[in-house]
Symmetry: C2
Subunit: 525 residues, 2 copies
């Protein structure tokens, strides 16, 4: 998640200290793993790689790193062999005459080779330049051990000497990357997949999830580095299917449940430093997905304590959302509480939004029944109204597709969310998705694995298993073909060089909402 | 000192631990003084200022600093009110929506306003870019107190926000500069000077010296930051006349005496971190000036212990130098042991070099007598030979000027050093300097206060007091007119924008060898 921009500076927040205390009690220990670079790499332009670059193993031998002394404008790229999240240390010495000037060093941390090739100064987008993973460091005295205080998300590390002096050069040794996650690959039960493509997709999904599991489920360890509801829902599902770290999910649920607006709305995301802070951003389906995440969690754990603690907030989201549903069963979205659905604003989102509400309401009703909700009929009636309206008004029987009421637009997202919402039975859903595949595939104009995930799940749910597998291979598999060690925040198969921010140095190449193939494969195959 | 470049990687060094222990015993306590900015400044192009820029007091009020929140590409310049050397801390907060990206901040420390205006990326000279006093800092979490670990030499501090995010801005408060020196202005005895120009020159000299007095006499606290013999000699003289911190001079003498080559030569400069390291640079008159500095120290202190400890090294320098003096009394300089005299290589230095040797030999003989040197006649004979050769061969009686033997060149440096060496009596010296003033003033082509110091002292010594005062005012006074808070490493009155490195960001505007007017005024006025 990242691409949304709201400022709501007049919001008053409730902090429920009892719930937030439970969030803190479930703060995980971070597991550290020592990683040393496996090679020195040369980054070269090549359309076979992400954003037009690949890393080749250099003629230089990583075991002789200290011998490759570097002077002004000379650089070397270390390859960790895989994508990791953590801290970097390096020993540095001077070679030659006594060190008669400071060492001025630039370090660049890159998830993909294209980031090494990109010039930071060329980036001028609206997302903050502060996300670019580079540091400029002066060292007045050598030898020294450089221990960078910040966390990075990377596979490649460029060491570039801006200057030494003409009398000496810099020598680097003992590069160590301490990888961090709240889970370990050792927690993963063996899982056999015969199809080699799906096996690769599964493995990369799991690595993506692991790197995003820190003290919260982060959206991207390189950029945003924080807990969004949209990512959390998918990460939690993938986590149940793999690492099964229930404490982290519980912690994240409590973080959202513990910080709500005066009217009870959960924020789209929260910050955890310097203290627990809710963001002033609100997205319609993210709010109601709080109920879905709680229902999923209860389904996995049967943990009544968590359910009881957080049910009131889940109910509140549904109640707030239901105020937007009119007597006909039509969801009327508000400008200040928009549905996200996908980054793209090229299609109308009302029908997809209606689908997300039905989807969430179904899950809420399950936990409402567990909680012996007295007003259960209200929710069931709204659900019935919304389904009725969707079938009668939003479904075009001639086209066998859902439309957007105001302009009769037919788009992929509407079909997908109405299928996921199970507005019709599986047979009808199968017809809808078959029509969608026939008329709208190959998909264009959708940039996020988040939306692609929902397309694939809708295909599975509608029984179009083969089409679902093909789409997974064409989408996530294509990222692997381009060198992905972890799956990306954004990818358009029809435009492989697409970067939503105009430069690969701003893109996140390890992004939580792309980790779902592990869940999809385990659930549907 | 700075502008010399030698690599001698085959030198073997003796470390005399007994002497180096005495150097460490005289390591001074650094005195810290808290300085807060007095204003916010606007840097504007104006030929009235150093290198074409001045700082004007901004409309913004320093007491409201925290109110001036800064977003992408916005900056503010703090003015400390005077030049200082030390460490900087700053409180930083975010204002607006929750901090959804790191803060990326650039800090630039400038001795003169022109450094703020200069772009670092435009500098491409041979001196290391690592000297540019700027830092790029990421802060992941605000509020924070930024305590920069490095030491800076500056009056102006630019805070430039490279980026926040569109949702919040950075706010700065509590800027504190902790100024450092081994001496304090409180140690300075009151000293009345009626002439306001000379008073200003005296005060700026003293400030220059104070800022260069750290754990050694540094050449420049911004750039080089280390102990050179050439600067030490002048700093010690200015120090005797002002702060009178004898321990630091003693320490520096022991540092040079404790680290000599196998043949006994002292290096031109030494490093003190990460350990005591002699540089592999050798300059002829710097070596023999070790004897002059020791003689000056003994003259000031009558400290026989230091004299006895270091006399052998002083003698060694003279012995090595005397090997270059032929039977006629002619100094024959070697390429690997060049005379410095001045940065300029536009004039021949042999005659000036001959002068430095006579100057040093005279001072050595004084301490040799104290030490009851048995070979005293040898030194006295060489001195006589060199004086004889200088008078008979190097002096052009028609021109009343010293020439360079090989090409009959007449230059300022030759006259100055022969006068300082007292090759003739004062009457004759007066004639020589009068001729020099008449034929070669205003001086052109000399860039260093180091050489200008020797010109002024030669004028005083020759009895040309008025000319000496005029030259002091035209040289050091002109720097003050251009806004100098401390005196500079390099200055050509005939070319005020001259920068020896092509950019003001590389120049040192507080440089030890320019601090001598305090000594000259006290000694000769």
């Amino acid at each position: 998640m990242a691409f949304t921009f709201q400022i709501n500076d007049d919001v008053n927040w409730n902090h429920d200290e009892k719930l937030l205390k439970k969030a803190e009690e479930n703060l995980p220990e971070i597991i550290e793993t020592t990683v040393v670079p496996v090679a020195i790499a040369d980054v070269v332009a090549d359309q076979k790689g992400a954003n037009g670059y690949v890393a080749k193993i250099s003629d230089k031998n990583i075991t002789k790193l200290a011998d490759y002394t570097l002077g002004r404008d000379e650089s070397i790229v270390l390859d960790l062999g895989d994508h990791y999240v953590g801290h970097f240390t390096l020993a540095i010495n001077s070679v030659g005459s006594p060190m008669d000037a400071p060492l001025y060093l630039q370090l660049k941390f890159a998830e993909v080779p294209a980031e090494i090739a990109a010039k930071s100064s060329d980036y001028d987008g609206w997302l903050s330049k502060s996300w670019i993973q580079e540091e400029y460091i002066h060292l007045d005295v050598l030898p020294a051990t450089l221990s960078l205080p910040r966390r990075y998300s990377c596979r490649y590390i460029e060491l570039k000497v801006i200057d030494t002096s003409p009398k000496w050069k810099a020598s680097f040794s003992q590069p160590v990357f301490t990888a961090e996650s709240s889970v370990s690959m050792n927690q993963l039960a063996p899982y056999e997949i015969d199809d080699p493509e799906l096996k690769d997709i599964y493995n990369v999904s799991v690595k993506t999830l692991l790197d995003c599991m820190q003290t919260v489920f982060e959206d991207g360890p390189k950029r945003d580095r924080r807990l969004w509801i949209g990512d959390l829902r998918l990460q939690a599902l993938a986590n149940y299917a793999t690492f099964g770290d229930l404490a982290l999910t519980k912690r994240c649920l409590y973080l959202f449940g513990g910080m709500t607006t005066e009217e009870g709305k959960v924020p789209a995301n929260v910050f955890t430093a310097p203290e627990l802070i809710p963001d002033d951003t609100f997205l319609f389906e993210y709010s109601i997905f709080f109920a879905a995440i709680l229902a999923d969690y209860y389904y996995e754990t049967k943990d009544l304590e968590v359910l009881k603690d957080l049910y009131p907030m889940a109910k509140k989201q549904m109640d707030l959302a239901m105020k937007l549903v009119d007597d006909e069963g039509r969801l009327n979205l508000l400008e200040e509480w928009p549905a996200f659905i996908d980054w793209s604003n090229e299609f109308e989102k009302d029908t997809a939004g209606q689908g997300t509400m039905i989807y969430a309401l179904r899950r809420f009703i399950i936990i409402a029944k567990v909680m012996e909700e007295t007003a259960i009929e209200t929710y069931e009636r709204v659900l019935a109204d919304m389904i009725h309206f969707s079938r009668e008004v939003l479904f075009d029987t001639k086209e066998q597709q859902f439309i957007v009421e105001k302009n009769h637009e037919i788009n992929v997202a509407s079909q997908v969310w109405m299928v996921l919402a199970e507005v019709f039975d599986q047979e009808k859903n199968s017809e809808i998705m078959t029509t969608t595949v026939a008329t709208q595939f190959p998909i264009t104009g959708i940039a996020t694995p988040y939306m692609y995930h929902h397309v694939v799940e809708a295909l599975f749910l509608a029984g179009l298993k083969e089409e679902a597998i093909i789409l997974m291979k064409n989408y996530w598999g294509k990222m692997i073909d381009l060198g992905a060690d972890t799956f990306w925040e954004a990818f358009k198969p029809e435009e492989p060089d697409f970067s939503p921010y105009g430069s690969p140095i701003m893109s996140s190449y390890c992004h939580a909402w792309s980790c779902t193939p592990a869940y999809l494969i385990k659930k549907y195959l």
